[in-house]
Symmetry: C2
Subunit: 259 residues, 2 copies
């Protein structure tokens, strides 16, 4: 039987709220399975860009990672946010190690090819170094990943944290029974976006298709759930979506996805 | 017989010069013993402070690490500088992992007590987690440390890179035969500061005392050599001081310190 592994993604809204972050990290540190944390960026990078007088480059409403923005992403995601989470986890007796995809060659990627748009230093993932990550887990170390990858030629790349977490979960599923947690501001996937208590508790491949057809899953949730079912189809056992209730072992008010 | 370990400190002048840094990292990646790199800061942190409109706090000519300066140190040393070195080493097939003292609880410290001066978030080292670092080395991973430690209560601290490297070397000497390298802009410890070729090739405890008495070792070199002999007295086998010639296996124009 494979060993269990929990892989958790937290978004900007938790990172930016010190009290919420501490609450989450406390629950996270109490999880007894081997675990990996992936954190997104939050607004801090924008604040630093602004303070440094760097104007974010946008094309068709999408942020382009030019060299100056990449440096700020490395400073804020790879430095400030990542190290502060690691230090806090250490105080909670969780032996965390902060990592980008370059560290221990953990996440290999290539610069997104230019078609209509040059996204700059944006990385699409090629491979997860699952053996090495498993070795760290076996040392009772908890990797904490920021949303940076590298191309193995010396270039760091910006990669969406949702993509990182699902590719990590797929890569680790070869040796572990992996559960993927998306922790964000909502209670889960909602039937009615206006009603925060209308959580869809279980979604499988069939109901997923029906929910899309009905228009209940749309906009921001669509790429997130697409990522989740991609992970499930490629070896991840289960995906859970919700807020901190995902981890408190009391509340079951979240969404569980299975194939 | 103990396994050999090389611990190398590089200073700001190498970090700030892309060509020098690449030359160093190439030589470093070719070292066949297990190895650890420690890097100092350089002027980049000052540039970021300036761009962000933060005025460094000084007391009696000494820089104080206030909260804003610490954040910039975490961003620049722990983020930008560290991750760029790691990505470059990966491209040279050296399996580097970037670390602060908080990562894997590697370097434990406490905030320097306030006597005459409150140095702010400056950390004095209590302990090196040598078992865990040895485990990483056994996985063929090369730790790359920036000059940050933590107090195990969630607080990151700024610690002098020269101190970090000598304490690391002492800590690792329990299980390894450790050689410590200080790589900087000079060819070695100079008899005549005006003559860059007047390298003192060998210094031991006796000649060290004599050189201080003669006034040949003074000012900036004094704390550096004090650190070195502290390391030698506490288990480090040998210390070498010089520029890139330390690593090219051809030139022997550097200073070797032994007890």
């Amino acid at each position: 039987m494979k060993q269990q592994l929990s892989i958790i993604k937290i978004g900007g809204n938790i990172i930016e709220n010190d009290a919420e972050l501490l609450k989450f990290l406390t629950l996270f540190s109490q999880m007894t399975t081997p675990k990996i944390l992936v954190h997104g960026g939050g607004k801090k990078a924008n604040q630093v860009l602004q303070k440094m007088g760097i104007i974010p480059k946008m094309v068709n409403g999408r942020r382009i990672t030019d060299a100056a923005s990449l440096d700020v992403a490395i400073m804020v995601y790879g430095g400030l946010t990542n190290k502060k989470i690691v230090a806090k986890l250490q105080s909670l007796h969780c032996n965390a190690i902060g990592m980008s995809g370059a560290d221990a060659n953990a996440i290999q990627a290539h610069k997104r090819p230019v078609k209509d748009i040059d996204y700059g230093f944006a990385g699409d993932i090629d491979n997860i170094n699952s053996d090495l990550i498993a070795n760290l887990l076996n040392l009772n170390i908890t990797p904490v990943f920021c949303a940076l990858t590298h191309n193995q030629k010396g270039q760091l790349l910006n990669t969406n944290a949702d993509t990182i977490v699902s590719e990590l979960a797929i890569g680790m599923s070869v040796t572990f029974e992996t559960t993927l947690y998306y922790c964000f501001e909502l209670n889960g996937v909602l039937r009615d976006f206006q009603n925060k208590n209308s959580v869809l508790k279980n979604i499988d491949s069939d109901s997923y298709k029906a929910l899309i057809a009905e228009g209940i899953i749309s906009e921001g949730m669509l790429p997130k759930l697409h990522n989740c079912f991609h992970a499930l189809k490629n070896g991840v056992k289960e995906v859970r979506i919700g807020n901190l209730a995902l981890f408190d072992n009391v509340n079951t008010n979240y969404t569980t996805l299975v194939l």
